[in-house]
Subunit: 258 residues, 2 copies
Amino acid sequence: MNTLKEITINQPDIETFLSIETLSSISVDCVIFGYDDNKLKVLIRSEYIPNNGEVYLAWKFPGNKVRKCETIEETSSRILKEQTGLENIFVKQFMVFSDPNRLRRKMYEYEWIKPSLTDDRVITVGFYSLINLNDVDNSMLIEDAKWADAYEIKELMFDHNEIFDEAFKKLRYDLLHEPLVFELLPVKFTLTQMQKLYEAIFDTTYDKRNYRRKVNKMPYLIPLDEIQTGVSHKPARLYSFDRDIYEKTRTERFDFRV
Amino acid sequence: MNTLKEITINQPDIETFLSIETLSSISVDCVIFGYDDNKLKVLIRSEYIPNNGEVYLAWKFPGNKVRKCETIEETSSRILKEQTGLENIFVKQFMVFSDPNRLRRKMYEYEWIKPSLTDDRVITVGFYSLINLNDVDNSMLIEDAKWADAYEIKELMFDHNEIFDEAFKKLRYDLLHEPLVFELLPVKFTLTQMQKLYEAIFDTTYDKRNYRRKVNKMPYLIPLDEIQTGVSHKPARLYSFDRDIYEKTRTERFDFRV
DNA sequence: ACAAAAGTGTTTTGGGTACACCCATGT
DNA sequence: ACATGGGTGTACCCAAAACACTTTTGT
């Protein structure tokens, strides 16, 4: 991690640097969603881009080339590890971006990336991922990365704003159809934590009673004999997610929407 | 078309043959769904694969390399044109397949494809497409292609069975969330035609009255002052799809499910 | 005692589902 | 006249949505 930390700064082509063989015209870019303090965030990285003798600060999602012997899922897990230190995290491809000019929307960005290209274009596969920011040791976070508010994303490099829009769309869809919330919750959680998480991601609010009536029908949500401690109000019951029960009881058309 | 017809037979790498520049490690494979006579079909192509002095007949989805200057959507439209003669057809990417050994599941298949590879692996983007078989001039269909029943797909080459499964899953999902049915219906259609189409794709049956109650709520389904002719029963009213009204009235969570 | 979040029921409304008969046309 | 698919209405059930008060803890 420390070695990587040094090298990745302003080094867009770490693979070439390390002489690791990669495929030439395909890359993976990762939109890493993080949840913390009722806020939905996204990891972006800064790059210093020379332009006319000056240097611009620009932001993009972390990405990498695909190595000769890995699947793109492995590529994205590798990026996640490099950026956050986390392993065995859920990653999911959501779309391929193949505009031949996607790297040339601004010429100074293209000039910056050009030395690391073997071809004059790169097709990229967008992945998204979900992490709970409480799990992240932020000292592991590489220097030029930051967690940006998902609702206040500014202009990004290349086609990365499009990539973000598609990632967010897919995240929301998947959250309604797969038990992804639990990737973002601690192992033991309260129903209010779960509700707030949906509210953060869908930018809305739900009625507490209706929400509970609905989630209480989920047989894989296990109420524990344990309650919160150290809170200055009535402590809430803790729940956990039982994946086995989920797999056994899920129906064709299951829908997490509340 | 005729020229292509000749060349494509047993020629897995038409691009090299024609000296058209392509990206080296990325391709597009197309699952083309066709609907006809209340049956859902898929276009597959035969290839004669040498193995130990014998020749096997194997089937795969049509695919191609990505040319230097095109998006993958353009690649898939090109494949569609080559295979069916149709242009301006809806195509949609659904998943990237990147197993480094995806072409090596059977060694004789790998030996067959190898001469056309510049790299020892190819990442492929799966696309699906929908066409109404009444629109296809079947004399245009290249010789080694056939329309196979979507419910009776046998063993295919490489990882193409996985590609099919994912395509079918995505097709069904999209049909419930986007107005794709109309890609498969004639411009003027009856409600029963629309119902039969859903039934074919979802392999189920619906109650006629409930189905009509539901679709009658769709403001973009326009009843025409026209009825079927030449049928030996009460002629049905014809409807058309109004895309403008659809765009204007669609809601965030629209759902075509019946 | 007060602040703060947990936890709990009822009513209304609309959509899903199940179900059977008459109609218009061609042969 | 008969065969064929077209077209229509009603009753029941359940899920979604709206809505307010009491409970338990820490300070």
